[in-house]
């Protein structure tokens, strides 16, 4: 595992960044309203979230579907992401894999570390479980292709 992987921090864009969306969000963060881009699907709805005094979500607008509400609620507490990566096959090829559900964003590097240690049999079939309960997240890592197709 590369050493600098530990240094990754999950921050927003830095102060000197000219990142448009982040800046807009920065301004919107102060007060009881938040604005964020939903990442659940490629539509990328811009969500406006009204917070209660205890910072929990009071209401969400701008979402095109119900998943936007769940996304906003998680995002305010503990952001969740589906991890997609590759695992090495014993024949030297790479097998695309993913978690079968979203995992806490702050566990992504732990998940990567565990997956990068794994050597998978080339006979693996699509949707076979490669790792159970990866990094104690409750999610399984599954194959996203047949090992035999990874040539």
């Amino acid at each position: 595992m590369p050493e600098n992987a530990k240094k990754i921090s999950f921050a927003k864009c830095g102060e000197d960044s000219t990142c448009g969306t982040s800046r807009e969000r920065e301004a919107a963060y102060s007060g009881s309203k938040k604005e964020m881009t939903c990442v659940v699907c490629p539509t990328g709805c811009v969500l406006t979230i009204t917070l209660n005094a205890d910072k929990s979500v009071k209401s969400v607008t701008g979402n095109a579907c119900g998943r936007g509400v769940i996304y906003a609620e998680n995002e305010c507490v503990r952001p969740m992401r589906t991890l997609t990566t590759t695992a090495a096959l014993a024949n030297g090829r790479m097998l695309p894999v993913r978690t079968d559900r979203a995992v806490p964003r702050d566990t992504l590097i732990d998940c990567m570390r565990e997956i990068n240690r794994k050597i998978v049999a080339p006979t693996a079939k699509i949707y076979d479980i490669i790792i159970e309960n990866v990094a104690d997240t409750g999610a399984n890592v599954v194959a996203a292709a047949n090992g035999s197709d990874c040539a």
């Binding site: 050493e3 830095g14 964020m36 699907c41």
Partner: protein, 417 residues
């Protein structure tokens, strides 16, 4: 060899077209694919976000490809992999080559072009400096990491904020590289908002808008790049230069439809899309030759590629079955604020037609307007429009029939100009 239909390219467009044609009763189909496996670029797009429209579930690229591979296999559609098409004539004679058959020709009744696109390379950018190792397109890096299992570098600068560049920023970070920054020449990103969020903001990777790489330094290997801010004319501003240490420069600076065969057949290419002009069933100016997917215009989402390929498939099946078409073409032109429209003309006005288009700039609170020579026929408000996100309007048959003259214009009207 003779075939009713030859499909050039076994990526998402070619496979979806084949399935559609087969489901319309055409059996004699041949897909020609140059790679060893079908699936095209999806094979290396291991991230998720595919299939939400088409299959109502979130799939990775390989999973999306797998669904179509199974459909092809279930239908017994002939697929020749490792086969490169090297020629196409107006008479629909396809010349191809592979190790088993050598050079061979296929006389086709109809052809569907589904060759996809490729990346703009460094040579198209004219960045001054040396020519060290470590400069590659984002898609090449994606293949190295995801298919071959090699990490091409440890300190990365990404030029261009297209989706592949953003996806690779996250991918390289997860595999242990440090992505210093993503530079974007334009004052806005060409990538999906969601990718800026989950690929850059999640990892604290800065996105420098109105910035570009103005010099490349390094003898054998890349050592530093000069990054400069640009003005509104996209010219570097003197005094804003800074040196950024890196061993890898990834280029995500646009995709070019791969249309050599299209041109060879005598079709003209549009400067806006890089593809040829088609009607609503994706038939080109040569009857019986159809085009779909990224070879026609670069899409953001594979789901829309599949939709378009199905239209081309229905069209090719109808052509082979000799179904006559009537009607004078109604041209769909791109007006103010609209860069291009696909299709470029509509022949049959009895069915709804979805017009895909891209806008020229970022617009807020604009209306998408469709008008004929006399009046506005359709108007729809949009809170935000951006060049990186393909838009569409669906024109109802009654609107198409009501249109006076031969031209419909799709344009934007901006409220707070």
């Amino acid at each position: 060899m003779k075939k009713q239909l030859v499909i050039i390219g076994g990526g998402p467009a070619g496979m979806a077209a084949a399935v559609a044609v087969r489901d319309h009763g055409i059996e004699d189909i041949l897909i020609l694919e140059r790679a060893a496996h079908p699936g095209g670029i999806l094979r290396q797009c291991i991230h998720s976000g595919f299939g939400l429209h088409k299959f109502k579930e979130e799939l990775t690229g390989p999973e999306y490809a797998w669904k179509y591979e199974q459909m092809i296999a279930e239908r017994g559609i002939e697929l020749m992999t490792g086969t490169m098409v090297i020629g196409l004539t107006q008479e629909k004679v396809v010349t191809a080559v592979n190790p088993a058959l050598g050079v061979f020709t296929v006389e086709a009744q109809a052809v569907i072009l589904a060759m996809g696109c490729r990346e703009r390379p460094r040579g198209a950018l004219n960045i001054p400096g040396t020519r060290p190792a470590g400069i590659l397109t984002a898609g090449t890096a994606q293949k190295f990491v995801n298919i071959d299992g090699y990490l091409p570098g440890k300190r990365v600068v990404i030029l261009g904020s297209g989706d592949i560049g953003l996806i690779m920023a996250r991918r390289m970070t997860l595999e242990g590289a440090k992505v210093e920054m993503v530079c974007e020449l334009l004052p806005y990103s060409g990538g999906l908002a969601r990718n800026i969020e989950q690929c850059l903001n999640d990892f604290g990777i800065p996105l420098l808008l109105s910035h570009t790489v103005t010099e490349i330094h390094g003898d054998r290997n890349l050592q530093t790049v000069t990054v400069s801010q640009v003005n509104t004319n996209r010219k570097p501003i003197p005094g804003t230069e800074r040196l950024v240490e890196c061993d890898t420069l990834l280029l995500s600076v646009g995709l070019i439809p791969e249309n050599e065969l299209t041109a060879m057949a005598g079709l003209t290419l549009e400067s806006t899309t890089g593809g040829t002009a088609v009607d609503e069933r994706r038939e080109t100016a040569i009857p019986g030759i159809f085009a779909c997917g990224n070879v026609l215009h670069v899409h953001d989402l594979v789901d829309f590629v599949s939709d378009e390929a199905e239209l081309a498939g229905h069209g090719a099946a109808a052509y082979i079955q000799g179904k006559a078409r009537k009607g004078r073409p109604l041209i769909v032109a791109a007006g103010t604020g609209v860069r291009y429209t696909v299709p470029r003309h509509v022949i049959e006005r009895s069915k709804p037609v979805k017009i895909y288009f891209r806008v020229t700039d970022v617009f807020r609170d604009a209306s998408v307007v469709v008008r004929d020579s006399r009046a506005v026929l359709f108007s729809q408000k949009k809170s935000r429009l951006a060049p990186g996100e393909m838009e569409s309007v669906t024109l109802a048959p009654e609107l198409l029939k009501r249109a006076s003259g031969d031209i419909l214009t799709v344009m934007l009207e901006v409220q707070n100009a």
